[in-house]
Subunit: 325 residues, 2 copies
Amino acid sequence: MSQPAGEFAFIARHFRSLAGPGALALSDDAAVFMPPAGRELVVCADAMVAGVHFLPDDPSYDIGRKLLRVNLSDLAAMGAVPLGYLMTVSVPPDLPSDWFEGFSAGLAADQATYGLSLLGGDTTSTTGPLVLSLTILGHVAPGEAVRRNGARPGDGVWVTGTIGDGSLGLACLQGELDDPTGFLADRYHVPQPRLGLALSRLVHAAIDVSDGLVQDLGHLCRESGVGAVVEATLVPASDAARVAGAAWLERRLTGGDDYELLLAVPADAEAILLRAAAAAGVALTRIGTFETGPARVRVLAANGSELVFRSPGWSHVSDAFGVRG
Amino acid sequence: MSQPAGEFAFIARHFRSLAGPGALALSDDAAVFMPPAGRELVVCADAMVAGVHFLPDDPSYDIGRKLLRVNLSDLAAMGAVPLGYLMTVSVPPDLPSDWFEGFSAGLAADQATYGLSLLGGDTTSTTGPLVLSLTILGHVAPGEAVRRNGARPGDGVWVTGTIGDGSLGLACLQGELDDPTGFLADRYHVPQPRLGLALSRLVHAAIDVSDGLVQDLGHLCRESGVGAVVEATLVPASDAARVAGAAWLERRLTGGDDYELLLAVPADAEAILLRAAAAAGVALTRIGTFETGPARVRVLAANGSELVFRSPGWSHVSDAFGVRG
């Protein structure tokens, strides 16, 4: 239950440079800051565990970025602007001493990219695998947070970017699939949170695709009390995913780790949203329609027949205290 | 990297009843709420690991309370008012299925006691020991957060409650010491966060004693650029600790797990602070004086000689991104 005191130096070495205004240089147990006036706060937390959410030999630089980005993706789905984050790390004794150098460098790079900083946290030891927990804070105009429960029959089902790359990237890293360019592994290692689309007042509902397109769309349907039909051929694939071929279709649609946004878009918002996405350099594709009926997702093949998958989603065993299965 | 989806039911069963306003019934990935107008936010995070911060067979009801209370204690040291919390839990496969029933019941009881609620979080699996991470949010009047860096020479060194019970309680649970009444074990299992003392504008600095009185006083000294002298005989002991006797003095002063407050109190604030403490039913005791000189803590025996300890603090291996060693 004890160990020689060494965390002070550890923290100073790896984390103090990440501290932003309000973090009190990480010298106190807590951060203190004035939240943006007249804005609602948006807060969420995600944990990642070695061997569950990342591979033990993934580069620590990328793990730092992924930890931050999966949380940024949650803010993106709410239409929120990042503010800062807290982090707890539970460290096994055999972790190489330079592991946190890459980890904090990845965090530093993404802090600059996304405009937020470390507010505080905690380091502990563990006898098990490395556990990383991050709580992110963002803000949004009052009443404008995008929820999961607003999809209406007739809304289009839209997605950002391409779907399935992250899951295929994991398959590549596990030797199940070739990845000559490294594109798919990179998509697995480094999600692209789709911030900056100004979703509020344009979309009726949003979720980020972390547990698989079909499963996360099911969450939107359940929370909104609607069904959805998706045409598999419309689901955007990267060039690398297209090379993998039709045999990987189920994995692409159910595999997760996309961190793309899945949106319920009313017809009258399509044009302005497409302009916003183009300005942000983000592809936006309509893949189906929300419909009345039970909260069920139907995925149709090119011939109109319904595809039946073994599992609606793989669940990467990270589940917000929400409806992520 | 996958498991059957079951967290939705898990979360609904154990955590949804803990959700407060803004948590969106835990149905989204994030909570959304308007922070108290004109108040600064105070945020901090602490993690607890089975076998490191609690004993594997400690009651889960108490572990839930301790997880929340160690974070509430950080807010108490800042003079902040609790608002809400997020939590991530990384769960080993062999944890008994009813473990979380006690855990969430303990959290529910303390939510009622301290007036805050669950805002969100995440559940993951782990192959290692149970890891619990909690981020707490509180608020304080602008500029009135109590820091660690304000102690001045001549300020009194004061503590709330009694010192050393938590560490002796751990010794009892480990069979090193008798605990006929169970008082000491209870002090280890269930800290009493000293909220409600209205410290702002009264004390110059504060810290909660988590890593041992001497070590945490050292942190105050280092951050404030002052020294401190403490008279060991003035450090308040519970009846149970007194029964343990003088052989346990070092353990009491360096063992940690007290979660009492250590305060730098100017002379002109003593009277009003003592009245506030009396009103809150909290004992408040002067144990020494801050002094000019190097950031060093001297502990004096009754005969005036300086006590030398093997280690300034045991460090229970939980270290905020602050100066906790």
